[in-house]
């Protein structure tokens, strides 16, 4: 405790600088206003925009583990799939009438199921090198894929889960054919979870994650329970990806094996990489770029999109100095020098 009755000028300045980092910037507010305004700006594209919001949420979950905590994982897509099937099965069970079909409850079911699996597998990412983590998380993702496909009696196997009937959101808003309710619902969920994630990364907890990513040896030397922090963020990220999956199942009223396919993990990673890791908004920007490109290019031929996606990836890795994450760090440095919101 300080024995000075009033803080020194340096202390006052320090408080201001630190707290300033967590204040909402103008660019952020404009972003969200525009995002919600899409309801009126693009009324015919609401399904696509819902998808973008959902994918953005998955990318956000990858940002939490990779961009902030530095955990290299190829398995985040598995949590998306688990959330989708858990919420889908619940909604189907509820047949559109009972509490099981309530969308918000479904979110917690989906997110919760993913969080449980995430927590149970979190110990896998604590040990070993980056390479081990990549392989182990890939392995887990493929196991989940296989399990979901095998449990035909529960998941419908390769035919997908039919008869997903979510009831009205908060008992008031029924999902409509134009995707209006789906859009607002997805956006609100995304926004709420984003605000929580934002608070998390600006908090002492978030700072400790960045420290772990920067120098794990030193974090242990100052007494930080590193494993507990990593398990916590991994579980939270799994929850987020699970909620995204639940949203997907509820808004499309369907859950398919595609939701647990490996490309979900790869896509989420790509979106984050396009937009920039470690900024929270990177995943959201990335999902907009990714999904829009997919919509435009995929309409030509499906192979066209996959081809150009591959080319973009290869080009990004090869021609960006220091690799993809290097570019992002440079962007961050430039952004900071301009005094932007971070």
């Amino acid at each position: 405790m300080s024995n000075i009755t009033s803080p020194s000028p340096e202390a006052i300045r320090a408080r201001a600088v630190l707290l300033g980092r967590s204040r909402w910037g103008v660019a952020e507010i404009i972003f969200w206003v525009l995002a919600f305004a899409c309801y009126w700006l693009f009324p015919t594209k609401l399904s696509l925009l819902s998808e973008i919001a959902i994918l953005g949420l998955v990318a956000l979950s990858v940002d939490l583990v990779l961009g902030y905590a530095g955990i290299v994982t190829l398995g985040q897509g598995a949590f998306f799939g688990i959330g989708a099937y858990a919420a889908g099965i619940a909604a189907k069970h509820g047949m559109g009438t009972t509490l099981w079909s309530d969308p918000v409850i479904g979110l917690f079911i989906g997110g919760g199921a993913a969080a449980v699996i995430g927590f149970a597998t979190s110990f896998l990412v604590l040990r070993g090198s980056d390479m081990t983590r990549l392989m182990v998380t890939l392995g887990v993702a493929l196991i989940v894929d296989e399990v979901v496909n095998q449990m035909k009696w529960l998941t419908g196997g390769s035919d997908g889960l039919q008869g997903v009937l979510p009831s009205a959101v908060l008992g008031i808003w029924e999902f409509d054919l134009f995707g209006r309710v789906a859009f607002v619902y997805s956006m609100v969920v995304l926004f709420v979870l984003f605000v929580i994630a934002r608070a998390l990364v600006k908090s002492p907890f978030g700072l400790s994650l960045q420290a772990i990513k920067g120098n794990m040896l030193r974090t242990r030397a100052i007494g930080m329970p590193v494993n507990a922090r990593l398990v916590a963020v991994y579980t939270v990220a799994a929850f987020y990806a699970g909620v995204a999956g639940a949203l997907a199942a509820q808004t499309t009223q369907f859950a398919s094996p595609d939701y647990v396919a490996f490309h979900r993990s790869a896509d989420a990673m790509l979106m984050l990489v396009f937009g920039g890791a470690g900024h929270l908004y990177g995943g959201l920007l990335g999902s907009i770029i990714f999904r829009t490109m997919q919509d435009v290019l995929g309409n030509i031929t499906p192979q066209y999109w996959q081809f150009w996606l591959g080319v973009t990836l290869v080009a990004l890795v090869l021609f960006v100095r220091g690799g993809i994450l290097g570019l992002l760090d440079n962007m961050l440095a430039a952004w900071r020098r301009k005094g932007g919101a971070s």
């Binding site: 896998l124 887990v140 973009t312 290869v314």
Partner: protein, 286 residues
Amino acid sequence: MLTILLDGIAYGMLLFILAVGLCVTLGLMNFINLAHGTFAMAGGYLTITLMQKAGVPFLLCLPAAFIFAAVLGLVLERTLYRHLYDKTHLDQVLFSIGLVFISIAMVDYAYGANQQIVNLPEYLTGRFSFLGASIGVYRVFVIAICGLLVVSLQLVLTMTRFGSRLRAAVDDGRVARGMGIDVTRIFAVTFAVGSGLAGLGGALGTGIISFDPTFPLKYMIYFLIVISVGGTTTITGPFLAAILLGVADVAGKYYVPAVGGFIIYTIMVVVLIVRPQGLFARAAAK
């Protein structure tokens, strides 16, 4: 049961030939090449094309596939891969995923998404009876060819100068360079040969496994399991792991089809947790 065992061994040896290039690449340059399956796919589709469109006899397709895949590997290594050795593992993974997407898209566009069927020559089809079990001729053929390759590989590694240089470079690249060993050239040659072997494996595999554009993704996990369980410091490790994997997979799918698929994934995850350097690897100080 002997049938299952032999089927499993044939499958396992095929997996080994497919994966051996990747094992050495990983051990030598610490590079995760998830696109390794594309070379196998190249060999397989080349065989299919040559046989269907040009009427080339099957046995000729095998060396053709090897050469084609080896050249492809060499070209890609010299132009693209070598820029990535110093990048992070995540970058390497993203790069190889990008390559996989490109190759899948190209093959899908050229051949369509359907599974390709290959008509094996008469003398390689059919079954015969041995020790009371029914054994496929082609399986025996595969075991024979792969066995020959394994023995040759081991001989090259242990008896030739190139082999000893390769082993030194895998053991400790820095020291090897310090001794004057041209690690970069060794790597280019090894990468080409490994890709060629994958291509040959792909050609051989046309008689056993199905070929469609998603091949690199489907089989990537098998290769990874072979490496995780077998380690990257020897070739006997991955060999044993591949046999184990082949038998486990075939037996699993036959006896317990419901869970057969993911027994092997679980094995890999468990092995990686318990021994991150693989079951059969020497306890290397890496």
